[in-house]
């Protein structure tokens, strides 16, 4: 903020506050709703009249427990596996694209782009039938595979851009120093690409974590149903009660891992996102 006049500082502060309020108010609203007692939900007030933990109790110990806890386990497991697989595959693929000349390189890039353009909703029905036939319906792999189709293209693109800006001479130097291609990749390229790999991993994690369409269509029981899908199955204590409070509480719980990841890797994300953009 050096070199700014007071007016500029005030201006930027106002803009920052407006953006923060705009983006955070829905989240705060959900947070407040999650603390409301069931009778409090329809008052139309922003703050609960009394802060209660009923909703959290309900999803962790009460009636929604059997719905929420397995879903949380599924979400974490499936998303982590999908992320790791996507990052490992994308790293190898992006390296090849950035460094090697091979027939079909364009094809890989174009098909990756094509897959990511394809609307999810149009694949889900054929996939549903296919999965039921081959026995992947309502299993972890049954979700991990479609998630890869979402996460791989963007991972490949991000990482290829990242690899491309690592000077090629570094790799040549490693080769002359006596490294095998794999050693050069592992000891020089991967450490340098680490911020890029982190950024990619986080983006991939978000995509898989937030998915709803595949989650609700390709699962039927708590064997594989992830949290976003499970939320749709929440019910109130009676048919006259809306499960809004419990859903809000669950939404807050699933947001926490994301917040933790972002805070932990904030620096890597920032350097990863900017390094691709600015030629150093």
């Amino acid at each position: 903020m050096k070199g700014m006049t007071t007016r500029q500082k005030v201006g930027w502060s106002v803009i920052t506050i407006v953006v923060l309020v705009y983006t955070l108010s829905p989240l705060v609203s959900i947070l407040m709703t999650s603390f409301k007692a069931s009778g409090d939900l329809t008052t139309g007030r922003f703050l609960p009249t009394r802060f209660v933990l009923d909703n959290y109790e309900q999803i962790f110990a009460g009636s929604a427990r059997d719905l929420f806890l397995p879903a949380l386990r599924n979400s974490i497991g499936i998303t982590l596996i999908a992320t790791v697989v996507a990052v490992v595959l994308a790293t190898l693929c992006a390296y090849a694209i950035a460094r090697l000349d091979f027939p079909g390189k364009r094809l890989v890039l174009v098909s990756a782009l094509g897959v990511s353009m394809f609307p999810v909703i149009s694949i889900v029905t054929p996939l549903f039938n296919l999965w039921r036939t081959i026995g992947l319906y309502d299993t972890w792999p049954g979700l991990i595979i479609p998630y890869l189709s979402l996460t791989l293209p963007i991972s490949i693109y991000t990482l290829a851009a990242y690899f491309q800006q690592i000077p090629w001479d570094l790799e040549r130097a490693a080769q002359v120093d006596g490294a095998t291609s794999f050693e050069a990749f592992r000891k020089v390229i991967v450490p340098l690409a680490l911020p890029g790999v982190f950024t990619t991993a986080i983006i991939a994690f978000f995509i898989a974590w937030n998915d709803f369409v595949y989650g609700i269509s390709l699962t039927s029981t708590s064997a594989a149903r992830p949290v976003p899908a499970a939320l749709a199955f929440f019910t109130g204590a009676s048919q006259f009660e809306e499960p809004t409070g419990a859903i809000s509480a669950a939404a807050i719980i699933v947001t926490i891992p994301i917040v933790i990841i972002v805070v932990l890797f904030q620096r890597q994300i920032v350097s990863g996102l900017t390094q691709g953009a600015v030629k150093g």
């Binding site: 000077p167 001479d169 570094l170 040549r172 130097a173 490693a174 080769q175 002359v176 120093d177 006596g178 490294a179 095998t180 050693e183 000891k187 020089v188 450490p191 340098l192």
Partner: protein, 415 residues
């Protein structure tokens, strides 16, 4: 320790363009050879072919008598210093230098690695920087780290790809000295690519001049300077560069745009029978007549000229004399300018005068030129017609002797 034999090496790209064309060069054990030429002459490509980063289209490359055309870079056991240093930014200086010794190929025990890194770092003055990252180092320090990484391997030969071109002028001079001393001390075969002729002349035992992928001449710096093989080498080596004057032989004289010259018989002989030749005269072979020793006068010619301007540099001064352009050599000189990476060669003679000389621009003055040392070039082929093979070979032989003596003295001091 190794010899490098380059035999008829060709590098042709997919479009058929030969970046390196039929180059042959034998590099003796412990020799410091410079590859020099204007940009795009193929010198870097040749170096990359030696180290194995470029495929060899034709010809044979032997290291210590063994054919290595098909070997991967890591199997050739050469160390290279890159133009941009290519330091690993995520590793400390220590780890950068230790990097080659931690690879599976030449894995060494950690205490041996430590010993070698410390020795290299003290040799290069990097002791207090070992824990820093390359990003925090100055250009000269990075350069030294890159050298350190090359030294510790105890490889068969060093290859340098314009290692000083990213440094400022002063630092370049220092690093040049350091490289020269290091090479003498280690006595390791070295190939060094540069476009800077000062580096080429000061560092090289022998200098190979390249033009458009073809080898023009390989010789000691002094032979290149005094007995250039052709117009290109003559124009490339020396600063300010050699003056080229169109000349015609007439009744024992050479008629040039700045006056008639009397010349020794071997010069006249070379020019005789040809309609037009190019006369090559180095600036320092001119002098203000007033400052020429009486005994020297019969060996040259006096000229009356009017310089356009002079530049006083302290130790000497340059005078610039314009002359009428000769359309018959214009094409040759334009082509030479292109080959040398210059815009044009102006119809101008540059003369070096004593710093005490009072010759000034616009005033007619008397200068003298030493005609014993002029060269005569064929206009069509650019060949040097006055080149004395024997004298040239003698110069290179002497350079080799001097170098041998230098190494022995250095070895004696070390003991």
């Amino acid at each position: 320790m190794a010899t490098i034999e380059i035999q008829n090496l060709v590098k042709r790209y997919d479009d058929g363009f030969p970046a390196v064309n039929d180059v042959s060069l034998d590099i003796a054990d412990g020799e410091f050879v410079i590859l020099v030429g204007p940009s795009g002459c193929g010198k870097s490509t040749l170096l990359r072919m030696i180290v194995g980063l470029e495929d060899i289209t034709e010809g044979e490359l032997r290291i210590d008598g063994k054919r290595v055309n098909e070997s991967a870079p890591r199997d050739r056991d050469l160390a290279m210093v890159f133009q941009n240093y290519a330091l690993y930014p995520h590793l400390s200086v220590y780890d950068n230098i230790a990097f080659p010794m931690r690879l599976s190929k030449n894995k060494l025990p950690e205490d041996e690695i430590d010993r070698r890194v410390r020795r290299a770092s003290s040799m290069l003055g990097l002791d207090e920087h070992l824990e820093r990252k390359p990003g925090n180092l100055s250009g000269g320090q990075r350069q030294r780290v890159a050298m350190g990484r090359a030294i510790v391997r105890e490889a068969d030969a060093f290859l340098f790809d314009e290692p000083l071109s990213n440094l400022d002028a002063k630092l370049r001079g220092q690093m040049r000295t350091q490289i020269a001393q290091l090479q003498r001390r280690l006595g390791i075969t070295s190939v060094y690519v540069t476009h800077d002729q000062t580096e080429a002349m000061t560092l090289g035992d022998r200098v190979a001049v390249l033009k458009k992928g073809r080898l023009q001449q390989v010789a000691s710096p002094r032979e290149l300077y005094e007995q250039p093989a052709n117009l290109f080498v003559a124009g490339f080596i020396g600063s300010p560069s050699m003056n080229f004057l169109p000349a015609r032989e007439e009744n024992g004289h050479l008629r040039t745009p700045i006056g008639d010259l009397t010349a020794p018989e071997h010069v006249l002989e070379a020019a005789r029978g040809r309609d037009l030749v190019l006369l090559g005269v180095r600036p320092e072979h001119f002098e203000d007549l007033e400052f020429v020793d009486e005994a020297l006068l019969p060996h040259g010619t006096e000229l009356a000229v009017t310089p356009t301007h002079t530049e006083w540099l302290g130790n000497e001064q340059y005078g610039y004399i314009d002359y009428e352009k000769d359309p018959e050599v214009a094409e040759v000189l334009d082509e030479l300018a292109r080959d040398l990476d210059q815009d044009e060669i102006p119809p101008q003679v540059v003369v070096t005068l004593s710093s005490a000389s009072r010759i000034r621009g616009g005033i007619e003055s008397r200068i003298w030129v030493d005609t014993r040392k002029v060269h005569v070039f064929d206009v069509a082929t650019g060949e040097n017609l006055t080149r004395d093979e024997e004298k040239g070979a003698e110069l290179t032989r002497r350079a080799a002797e001097d170098r041998q003596r230098e190494i022995e003295t250095a070895a004696a001091l070390e003991d």
